[in-house]
């Protein structure tokens, strides 16, 4: 397959899910480099940061007034809970607190996607106590499982993985993923339904 530039062979294949829409990119190493896509999907977070944490255009600022003339650079975004700035995170490779994930959600998203093979959303275990509490009504289930959009994206990710598994004739794996999809599909819509994973009750 040729790269979009038409000159070289495409050796880097990225699948990006944006708002539930799957985009495929087939690029040669040079084009990938200029698009900021790492040729090595397992590059560690520090090198990802070094390559991709350049100020991105117009991101939501977490602290500070909304919509200034000049959008604040991502580097200066600061977590209001612990005071860590994105640039500090960039240098150290570690976040300062749980709220950093909210404060840096915008710049962190693409970074995590590259570090985790294109994944954007958590799939798997959920703290049981928090889940039980959310059923009691004082905390909505959305607080745990995410908004409808987030759940839709999670489902899209799983569907993509299933398609890939089937294409590679990994049927057993596809079956596992389908189980996952089913449990995800049932949990959010009906809070009274089974736990997202069929683990025994404590």
């Amino acid at each position: 397959m040729k790269c979009a530039c038409g000159k070289n062979e495409a050796t880097i294949h990225e699948i990006v899910v944006v708002n539930g829409i799957v985009q495929e990119k087939h690029l040669c190493p040079e084009c990938a480099e200029s698009e900021g896509i790492s040729p090595d999907p397992h590059a560690n977070i520090a090198s990802l940061l070094a390559k991709h944490a350049q100020p991105a255009p117009a991101g939501p600022s977490v602290s500070g007034p909304v919509a200034p003339r000049r959008p604040p650079s991502v580097r200066s975004v600061r977590c209001s809970a612990c005071g860590t700035t994105f640039s500090q995170f960039k240098n150290e490779g570690l976040l300062g607190c749980a709220d950093c994930y909210k404060a840096f959600e915008f710049p962190l998203g693409p970074l995590l996607e590259r570090a985790h093979d294109g994944a954007t959303h958590h799939v798997g275990k959920i703290p049981r106590r928090a889940l039980a509490a959310s059923r009691g009504g004082d905390r909505p289930i959305e607080a745990l499982l995410g908004s409808l959009e987030e759940r839709a994206e999670r489902l899209a990710t799983l569907r993509k993985q299933i398609a890939e598994a089937v294409a590679a004739e990994h049927y057993e794996r596809a079956a596992r993923l389908r189980d996952e999809l089913r449990s995800l599909g049932s949990a959010p819509s009906s809070p009274g339904a089974d736990l997202p994973e069929d683990r025994p009750e404590a």
Binding site: L94, V123, P127, A143, E150
Partner: protein, 388 residues
């Protein structure tokens, strides 16, 4: 490894050295050398990274925060009935030698021994041997260990002998539930379990299988395994030291990504896709080596046994290399008088902290070589007479 331990007495806090001796004497289950595919698989481990809600992560945690986390965890973990007996070790109270011993036993990381935050250097972050931190060890058997205040507030680990990832996952899942029933974890609907380093976020899970791959190393096919594993987002690392030449043909295969794949799907990838293929590949290579170079392999294994039973000076690296060859000989039935548990135990005992603990004194490097050779000679002679 021994018969049931005697009624366990609480270790005297004024004599933290007792703790280390107790560990050596009761033994770790993963050293048994038994279980599924134990000719190739040494051990299977699962680790969970967890942080407590309401506390800053380690890089921003003050000394007071850290002390509170240690106190809180001490209380919560001890009451959670996580093991027959949970040994709590405050790392500020044990000597450097004993902290190294815990590293050699894979109960804590190098960084944790030194009071550093994982492998990261945090500007202005507090690090040092004086920082409040601990490890809880499940006894008997050391199947469970929980590092408190390493890179994350909690690093929970379960290790089993042989190829037993599914069993390890079931066990750690229950332990995680019991802890979560007593403490709120930091969790985010999109990102899952929140960790200080974003490479661990999501499930926070790391599966690791330690494999003994001497035949694949010898044929050079280990490169193919590494490439195949990398294609599945798995990492292949040598037993000791990151990046450096692996010692003694031991390799760990572990998952690299933690976001977007459930624990079960990850388990499936390792347990049904990659690891069985590696095991089979190693077995086939061993058979081919015997067919094509049988005398050379037998010679190598028996030479290793010869050196180990007669040497008067042994360095750690040399001992590890020879023990790896001996392990191959035992697995292939070339050496019948020694079992894998003896080999595995020796691999720990030849390391500096264990050696000095076992002999009860601090030694220079030159003294250690003498003591190491003596220990190996005695242990192997014992094993051979027991079998005879």
């Amino acid at each position: 490894m021994n018969e049931k331990p005697r009624q366990p007495a609480e270790p005297d806090p004024n004599q933290p050295g007792q703790t280390a001796l107790e560990l050596i004497n009761t033994g770790a289950e993963w050293l048994r050398g038994t279980g599924r595919a134990c000719d190739v698989v040494v051990s299977s481990r699962v680790r969970l990274a967890r942080n407590l809600a309401g506390f800053p992560f380690m890089p921003r945690a003050s000394r007071v925060d850290r002390q509170q986390i240690v106190d809180l965890c001490h209380h919560k973990l001890m009451e959670a009935e996580l093991a027959d007996r949970l040994l709590w070790i405050d790392l500020r109270e044990v000597s450097r030698l004993d902290r190294n011993l815990l590293v050699e036993r894979h109960l804590i990381s190098q960084a944790h021994a030194r009071g550093k935050i994982g492998n990261h250097s945090v500007t202005g972050g507090r690090t040092g041997e004086d920082e409040p931190r601990a490890v809880a060890v499940g006894l008997p058997g050391e199947r469970l260990s929980i590092m408190v205040n390493e890179e994350d507030h909690l690093r929970i680990q379960v290790v089993k002998s042989g190829f037993a990832l599914a069993e390890a996952l079931t066990e750690i899942d229950t332990i995680d539930d019991r802890i979560e029933a007593r403490a709120d974890y930091a969790f985010h609907p999109r990102f899952g379990y929140l960790t200080a380093c974003p490479t661990n976020v999501g499930t926070g899970i790391r599966f690791g299988v330690m494999l003994h791959l001497p035949a694949l190393k010898l044929t050079g096919d280990i490169e193919k395994v590494t490439r195949a594993a990398n294609d599945m987002s798995l990492a292949v690392r040598g037993f000791y030291g990151e990046g450096s030449e692996p010692l003694g043909d031991f390799f760990q295969i572990s998952n690299q990504t933690t976001l977007g794949k459930s624990e079960r799907v990850l388990l499936h990838d390792l347990e049904h896709e990659i690891i069985p293929k590696v095991i089979e590949y190693e077995r086939v290579s061993r058979r081919q080596l015997v067919e094509r170079r049988g005398e050379a392999i037998a010679d190598q294994v028996h030479r290793a046994m010869g050196v180990l039973t007669h040497a008067r000076l042994l360095a750690t690296d040399e001992a590890t290399r020879l023990l790896s060859q001996l392990r191959l000989g035992v697995a292939m039935g070339l050496i019948e008088k020694v079992d894998q548990q003896v080999v595995h135990n020796l691999m720990l005992l030849v390391q500096p902290a264990h050696l000095q603990r076992a002999s009860g004194r601090n030694m220079t490097q030159a003294e250690r070589r003498i003591a190491r050779a003596e220990l190996v000679r005695n242990r192997l002679a014992e094993a051979v007479t027991r079998r005879a």
